[in-house]
């Protein structure tokens, strides 16, 4: 069990390294060989897209990152009281706890176990 946990941790650490290391290497070698553009998409809800691409001949791998940020400052607040997320947080943790504790004695689960 312990070994398994260690292996999981090591895998996670390796994954993180793999994700961060190439980006850092690129930054150090040639920061000027990247071109950044900002696109404004005329969708019903106006959206910005940041296009970052290396200069020179391709082909390059394409990565699309969907990172939603609200244009409304209230929604971007850190505090759940301001952004209105307190209920979502409570539901999240209530369900997390229920997933570990189970449904208790007054549930179909318990009835099936008894039968």
């Amino acid at each position: 069990m312990r070994q398994h946990r260690l292996r999981t941790l090591a895998t996670a650490a390796l994954l993180l390294l793999g994700l961060t290391a190439p980006a850092r290497a690129d930054d150090q070698q040639s920061p000027q060989r990247i071109q950044e553009e900002i696109w404004v998409l005329p969708t019903p809800l106006p959206m910005f897209a940041y296009l970052v691409r290396p200069l020179g001949d391709g082909p390059f791998p394409l990565v699309i990152m969907n990172h939603g940020v609200s244009l409304n400052a209230r929604d971007r607040s850190f505090f759940p009281l301001v952004n209105g997320g307190a209920l979502a947080i409570i539901y999240c943790f209530v369900c997390l706890y229920l997933s570990t504790a189970g449904g208790g004695p007054w549930s179909v689960d318990a009835g099936m176990k008894k039968a």
């Binding site: 607040s77 505090f79 759940p80 009281l81 301001v82 307190a86 209920l87 947080i89 409570i90 539901y91 943790f93 209530v94 997390l96 706890y97 997933s99 570990t100 504790a101 189970g102």
Partner: protein, 135 residues
């Protein structure tokens, strides 16, 4: 499936403590917002000292803080459970029967979360548990 359930069940005591901390933090912020006006939230920035809302905020600040620490968890949760029941029936129930319409969902969740915590206690990661180990 049985193995999966077993795995989840093994984490139950620790998740109980995490759950207690989150409920505590979540209630604590209401106390801080109403007493110290931080962060500034529209319905709370005009709460007068010693008004009903202010008194509720003192409960949330003190007992929410105790829930975060896990000190006297059961007592703190029991009192907060009662407070949230009052909050629901004073602040939300008159606005309509359905919780989605009277915006009382959060109060209901707090009330029953605290009711459960009052029965289940604070879990292993709490000052209560630390105290019991020492004493």
């Amino acid at each position: 499936m049985e193995k999966f359930n077993q795995l989840l069940r093994s984490g139950e005591p620790y998740v109980l403590s995490i759950f207690r901390i989150v409920v505590g933090l979540s209630l604590f912020q209401f106390g801080v917002a109403k007493i110290f006006k931080f962060p500034v939230v529209a319905p709370f920035d005009k709460v007068q000292m010693f008004s009903l809302f202010w008194n509720a905020a003192v409960f949330e600040f003190v007992f929410g803080g105790l829930l975060i620490l896990g000190l006297f968890s059961r007592l703190a949760a029991f009192i907060l459970c009662g407070e949230m029941a009052f909050a629901y029936f004073i602040g939300h129930f008159p606005r309509g029967f359905i919780p989605i319409l009277n915006a009382g969902n959060l109060a209901i969740m707090y009330c029953f979360s605290c009711l459960y915590l009052a029965c289940a206690g604070g879990g292993p990661w709490s000052l209560d548990a630390l105290w019991r180990k020492k004493g």
